[in-house]
Symmetry: C2
Subunit: 338 residues, 2 copies
DNA sequence: CAGAGCCGTCGAAGCGCTTCAACACCGCAT
DNA sequence: ATGCGGTGTTGAAGCGCTTCGACGGCTCTG
């Protein structure tokens, strides 16, 4: 194993000079720098991460806490995780993967040991038990998701309230007067994961303002569950012509069952989905949708974390990404509309 | 920040005693141990990861390289990743998430810097350019997937050859004489990701042995692509009554399109899927399937890595998990069979 | 041409931990 | 009583790096 000292000897300089060449924190003359760089290459030197962390109290690692539940739509999680890893690398950081399983214990372990310089936490609940620990930690934190109280916290999320409003508005504009919301699995609401409730609130408010009736039903992603949900919706509101789906795994069952019931999309019923672009374009009908910008959320989270680390970032900062609705083939004028 | 020395002072012992209490590498009398443990708790001490890594040349971190391609079925990747993280924790390791993007450079960085004690590499290609580096590395490596040459390597994978054979056999047993294989996207084959080719080989061999005709068509996961694939299959082999699907994203389109064409499953055609359990049970028809044991693959990989680290593991070891076929509602006797 | 100031380099002091050799002490057998 | 092995504890030497203060030599200015 090659050490800094060996590089120094090989280049005929002192260890500190090599260190300064590496970090650029002190000016080094061009000839010396080249000599050192040449030695580094020739010896195949790689700085030792542990020694570096010890001496500088910086690990150059970002911790990412992902939930390990499977009732969330996994591809979104994965896309965020990959965006985080990729963006982190471009800033010189590596990513430590923590599962939510350990909960607060994981937070304590990481903040206590200096394993990571900052933490990014996904799938934050409204009243998350990790929050007090995170706020007390030395390390900066960025949340993906929005807890109830954001005082002193840095958060990134899609503006789900606006997303709900946008969906309601789109369907109302098309003349739909009875809208059904196929929501996430009941467990997601019970856990008080903010985004689901926020979406609903946005939907309700805008629907009320526009004089549209709204019916919300949580739903698992299975065919059975969707079958039951659909029956109950049409029993209660036979005139339903608009659907908003927020559970990605429910999309295929929904479209499939509507078709089997002889309801054509978008002629008889319109469907608006809240899901990643890829899902919207690969479904059996190209879906009018509001995209979940997983990639951008991951990227932003890392950039905020890095900004906090390198100084010059406000303590509190809530970044809500504006939703964008893309009209595709699954939504159209309500039946009976001019 | 609390250090070992402070704990030692607080407990009235030397630093080394505290260290030995922590590591258990030397016997410590019960009273002393309790005093030290009490001090640790009272001061809220957490050992510093960097210092520990430097002194012991062990980081207690496992690196996990995941592909960042999206043509693989993401949930399987995620499930493996989560199993790796969870199992690693239970052995006292954390997981560093590396994306395949960096390729060999990431391997060099991690092995060179001692960031991780071992590496687990997913989505290995038959001739993977990272292999030579991994073999030369100080750190042990475990592959999830099977390269062409496994000399000196430790690998874990589902036995895809046996999986293919099992599928062929099941359909043949039911009297099907014309089987179509809906494979992964063409890119997966072009990249020479072993599992797809192995499955095919298993299918072909067993089909041939059983006198069954086999037609293989790669397929993207979209409805358009599946539509084209199906037409071509039935054009070429109108008598096709058995399907094997290996592309998870293609399952819904396949079932949906078969239904639209008026082909009933399993009355007219049987379908066998190679996919995670959850997908098989949540599809519109409960699918006869061979499960992809993502969870077990992740767990085994970590256990092998840990075994190699703590000594007592053979250098070369290929673990092929035996496939299990579960009969559900999507397969039945071929039409015209007694 | 002396002094101030800057640039490039170096030596040394740690960062917080692990681990080895050494030692004090005990009870045991001789 | 003497020596011996075992147990529990300690001091000190690093692990490989960063970083601070210092210093020699240079240019620039008055």
């Amino acid at each position: 194993m090659v050490t800094l000292a060996e590089v120094a000897r090989h280049a005929g300089v002192s260890a500190s000079t090599v260190s300064y060449v590496l970090s650029g924190k002190r000016s080094i003359s061009a000839p010396t720098r080249e000599r050192v760089e040449h030695s580094i290459k020739e010896l195949g030197y790689h700085p030792n991460a542990g020694a570096r962390a010890l001496a500088s109290s910086r690990s150059n690692i970002l911790a990412l806490m992902v939930p390990l539940r499977t009732d969330m739509y996994v591809p979104v999680m994965m896309e965020i995780a990959i965006a985080v890893a990729t963006t982190a690398r471009s800033h010189g950081y590596d990513v430590l993967l923590l599962t939510g399983e350990e909960g607060p214990a994981a937070v304590r372990r990481v903040t206590g040991s200096g394993l990571a310089d900052a933490m990014i936490v996904m799938d934050v609940e409204l009243e998350d038990e990790r929050l007090p620990l995170l706020q007390a930690a030395r390390q900066p934190t960025v949340l993906i998701g929005l807890p109830a109280d954001t005082v002193g916290l840095t958060c990134v999320d899609l503006d789900f309230t606006a997303t709900g409003a946008l969906c309601a508005e789109h369907l109302a504009d098309l003349g739909h007067r009875d809208i059904a919301v196929v929501g996430e699995a009941p467990a997601v609401y019970e856990r008080h994961t903010g985004f689901a409730e926020r979406t609903l609130e946005g939907l309700r408010r805008r629907a009320a303002a526009l004089g549209v009736r709204l019916l919300h039903r949580p739903c698992e992603g299975s065919y059975e569950s969707m079958d039951g949900t659909l029956s109950r919706i049409f029993d209660e509101r036979p005139g339903t012509t608009g659907f908003v789906v927020q559970n990605e795994t429910a999309i295929d069952p929904l479209l499939s069952l509507l078709r089997r019931q002889g309801r054509a999309v978008p002629e008889d019923v319109s469907v608006v989905a809240i899901c990643p672009e890829q899902v919207a374009t690969q479904a059996s009908v190209r879906l009018t949708s509001v995209a979940i910008p997983a990639d951008e959320m991951g990227r932003r989270a890392v950039e905020l974390a890095v900004a906090k680390l390198e100084g010059g970032a406000p303590e509190e900062q809530v970044t809500l990404l504006a939703p964008e609705l893309t009209v595709r083939a699954s939504s159209g004028p309500a039946p009976g509309t001019a």
